[in-house]
Amino acid sequence: MDEITQKFIAKKFSEYYKTVELWTPPEFEKREFGFIPFGGGMMIRHRAFQSKIELQNYLQRTAPAHAYHSSAYYQNPSASTMNEKRWQGADLIFDLDVDHIDTPCKQVHDSWSCRCGYVGKGIKPEKCPKCGGTKFSELNWLCDECLTAIKKEALKLIYEFLLNDFGFKENDLSVNFSGARGYHIHVRSKSVRELSQVGRREIVDYIRAEGLFPEFHGLRKDKGRIVGPKLTDPGWRGKLAKVALEFLAQATIEDLKQLPEIGEKSAAKIIENKARIIKALKEGYWDALPVRSSSHFWLNLLKIGAVKLGGEIDQPVTADVKRLIRLPTTIHGKTSFRATQISINKLEGFDPLSEAVVFGKKEISVQINEAPKFRLGEEIFGPFKNEKVVLPEAAAMFLICRGVAKLNGKTNI
């Protein structure tokens, strides 16, 4: 980013922090804060503030690209080593990011390039198909489809897992749009504060269905029959019944043949007897399959299906007990959107591309390198390629923060 553009952004961010009603986490004085300045400097860590005003003044003065607070509570949050900080517990945090979900639109708007020069579309591969390298630079974009997909994941995590299985109350949870491509959910109940890293890992595995064995969820042989969980069962039992029923209801011969040990003939037989198998399943009997080894069939199916039903959360974030997480109500420097708190009952209808937009309609002239078509609020912009355009401030700020546009030299700041 050139100097003039950078100064412009800093001025805009600073104006925002001057008037915003800043949110601060409970037990504010026990939290560590961290900031990343514009221009790609090192993260400034180990900061603590005595009052909200002090923090707000700091944000206004330095206008950082990113502002974070610790999920942890410390006796001395500004100490520079963990030992001196004296950890006193941490909130439980879930991070859901579009990066982890393969939406079809990524083939259109995301790309990656390997050091060897090989370029591809969509999610980056584990290894470069050409040179086998594992380091890539990525270009990704935010779109409605991606943001809707990740919102669905957030809703599933909240209702299926956090409220239902883990029994949290709605007001134990604080739901936030991250300001870019995902959602953060903070659980601040006292009961979770002292959970260790190991315990938090177990929660991650529970949600992601990692290490699940259907045998421990009621799938067993009983008096010559195979019995299994029912839809109405709680926890993963009910979810596994759902996995099986939904798979069968939609399965084609081709789907079935994907499973180990299932050939053309068995698959056809299963399709023929679908209604009967489903009826038995609903009664808790898992042995109406016309195949030789029903239990193998189910074990294979459930292990694959459970992972799909599990939540797509970023594992290290939840397992970590000393993570810095974006401070709600601050601006995300890669989008110019506000990290926004949302009440749970409003989440389903939440539109980040209008409700998290900070900047307004004043017109600004920018030089755009390249940008796909995008929506902000009710307006659609682009696509753009190597052109000078006059845009409303909100759209201009968004493109500048994405790193694809700069101020047109003549703009008066």
Partner: protein, 342 residues
Amino acid sequence: MVGLEYLAKYPFTREASGYVAQLNINPVDLITERAYLNTRERGKARVFESLEFGLIQNKSSEHLTELLSYPFARIIVSLVNDRYLIRRYALAEAKRAYGFLINEDTNRLLEIAQRTFGLNVRLVEENLTLPFIFKMYFTDYLNLTENLRAIEWKLINRLLVKGHVLLRKREFARLISENLKRKTERELPLKLDRKLEAHYENIVQEVHRVLIERKPSMEVFLPKKAEIQSSPPCMKSLLGAVQAGENVPHQGRFAITAFLLNIGMKIDEIIQLYSAFPDFDEKKTRYQLEHICGLHGSHIKYAPPSCSTLKTFNLCLDPDELCQRIKHPLTYYKLKLSGTNG
């Protein structure tokens, strides 16, 4: 009101320690008075059996003797003040308690969990046609199962209903005994009057003598051929735990064993290393090691688990930069080794 028989069975409960406290017995009398001869014998047995066999046999001693032998044993262990002994003793008391707990009445179990250990537990009131009797709040459950890494203890393999993990009676008893083990490890050594040392000198010496014989050598063991320094952080930390005589869970033992064998350590060297385990059994250990080497059964030589499996079992600890680039602990070792050589 509970009877003396109950207190003798469960001398670690709040009720038992309350009862003993109001008897107001001077610990000096415990070691000197003729009246406590049987108490001393039973208390010593508690300590020596723990040390030698890792368990405490049931003896039909008189209830009050049985009860008082518990604080007496704890005084001895505290005065000897050795981490290995404390761990051995805690394990044996927990095993002893488990033997009683699995046969205990449901409400009694619940009462012990709540009153003595302050656990957030209840009886299952939902009318589930399932074998679960108890439920425990998941944070307590996670805390207690941290060292129990058999796959059935993993949260994902439990029934979790509105924040509570459902448990069978046997499992519940196991968790109470696990809690007792941890509590004992945490509480010992007790803070005692220095003057007691002189009175207990003989018995403490006696325990020391057995301890020296039994206790595995704690010298830091660095084999020449296998380059332990080049191991990934997870294996170093497992090895550290092994050397400190900590009770490493099954999955962790398998991982470190397979790793050490794969980097060329000899079975005998590993056995020497493992003799520090509180529940060490040479014959069993040798058989397991040979099994991993492929000398028994399927003749498959086992490799250590991959990074992702280690993560699942919570064994991926303090990953460093190199860890970001690898997917298997042996790859780490090879890279590190080639790095130091070249």
